[in-house]
Amino acid sequence: MAAPAIQLHALSHRYDTDPVLRDIDLTIEHGEIFGFLGHNGAGKTTAINILTTLIAPTSGSAQVCGHDVVRQRGEVTACIGYLPAEVRMYGHLTAAENLAFFATLSGVPHPRRAAAETLAYLECADLANLRVSTFSSGMRQRIGIAQAIVHRPQVLFLDEPTTGLDPFGVRQLRETILQLNADLGMTVFMNTHLLGEVSKVCTTIGVLNHGELIYKDSIEETTRRFPDEASLEDIYVRMGSDSA
């Protein structure tokens, strides 16, 4: 049986003496779109930083595509794509040059072709030969997503992907995530604040409160379990007040 896309076991992390994540156990299967919810400072970005090998956990273990994020960094980075909260990229390069560079680092055999194909897939081929320094934040976000998927990763990590996007951009991003999931079977792990988007995109949600995972279930089960709440936002607020 194939290993889950993401598996955390008793994962904890602290900055100095400040605990940020506490004993998190979590399993995300391949093909899921997982929405990671939580207030500012709940530890969502720290979790992504650990899963993308940027920092090592203080204790516990994390596996991505069956590989340990500390001991098998090379294998993990070969199967993930990552879009940070604020994307800037190399301003002196064009969009295509940026993508080709990251594709080469990921070992893609024909980086230029992969860059062109990815831009076409995201319907922004017209940006290919423009320097990124001239882009608006929405355009940069699209190129950011392109760099995250240019090597067709199995698992895609998105950290607050809607930051700086206008409503049109948010909708476009939602469609892109669904398309990636449907076309390429990509597992998506997304940190976000926008609960409306989560209900439209995610198949599963997890709620983090002060470093503790207080809830994890499918969207369908969640709405069934909280029939009195009108929206996911109401459910989220109730969870927050219950745990407090």
Binding site: Y15, T77, R88, Y90, L93, L105
Partner: protein
Amino acid sequence: MSDQTVTTRVTGARRARVLAIAKHEYRAAVRSRILLILVVLLILVTAASVYIASAGYAAKLAEYETYRAAAQAQGLDRIAPTPLAALSLLRGPLEYLEIIGAVIAISLGYLSVSRERINRTLPLIRTRPVTAGEQATGTFLGAMGVFATLVATTIAVGIVSIGLLGRDWVNPGELFQIALTAVAALLYLGAFYCLGAIATAKSRFAANGLVIALGIWLLVVLVLPQIGDTMDADNQLPGGLFQALALDHDGELAVLQHFTGYERIRTGIEEASLSKHFERFAFAMSDVKDRYRPYNLPWLLNETRNDIAWLLAYAVAMFVGLRRSFRTQPTIPPGGTP
């Protein structure tokens, strides 16, 4: 698939990543306005320096040719060889490489690290199958590509100016000596590149790293050599003390035998300076110092072996430091977001 096939594939992938980073570094440097201004400045001062020196050289060469023609016309058997050395006109460019080149190298090292911080691209690189060592090696190779272009341009401007204005083209043997000087210049600039990158990577604020690196540059390139020069007995008289005493190199060494303690301190101060080692080697190879002119290449290499060893040791040590600082550089600043 055999183990050897897998190993070859992994090595090939690693090489491709290192080369991609090297090309990326080169392209970023070429497109940097700050670096462009510094490089243009270096080439301009090089051209001006060689232009001025070549004009005087051409006059002296014409004077010597007149003397030789007159001596031949009088049927003299022994004609004095020319006291002129075309390569010595490269003194200016070599000194500019030593001073301005080091500033360019430090700036490039600073830009390499700060660019990733400003663009927030370090996490994007580190979430690929790229090790910190590969990243350090790639950026270093890219910078060496920039320096190779810089040194080749500077020396080419010098050689062409000597030929066109000084009316004396360097011969193949001299060209080989210049090529060795260029290699030494690459090691020298590479060490300063690493200094700029290490200081920036180790600093919480990138600009602090640049200031620290420039402080070290001031000490290594200007202060220490100046102290060494001031303490040098030969510099106590205009034209040189030992020349005034009509002493050759062996004679000079015999005199200095009586001042070993003093000379040890002076040499120690000079040897702490990477610039002094580069200068000694470069000046020996390019006939800048009169005392080296009568000797052939093997003798010169033997005479400057200590400087070659120091240059290599500095460059290797700084490169090791660069790899280490890239490994320990935090991808995510303490406290959270990149």
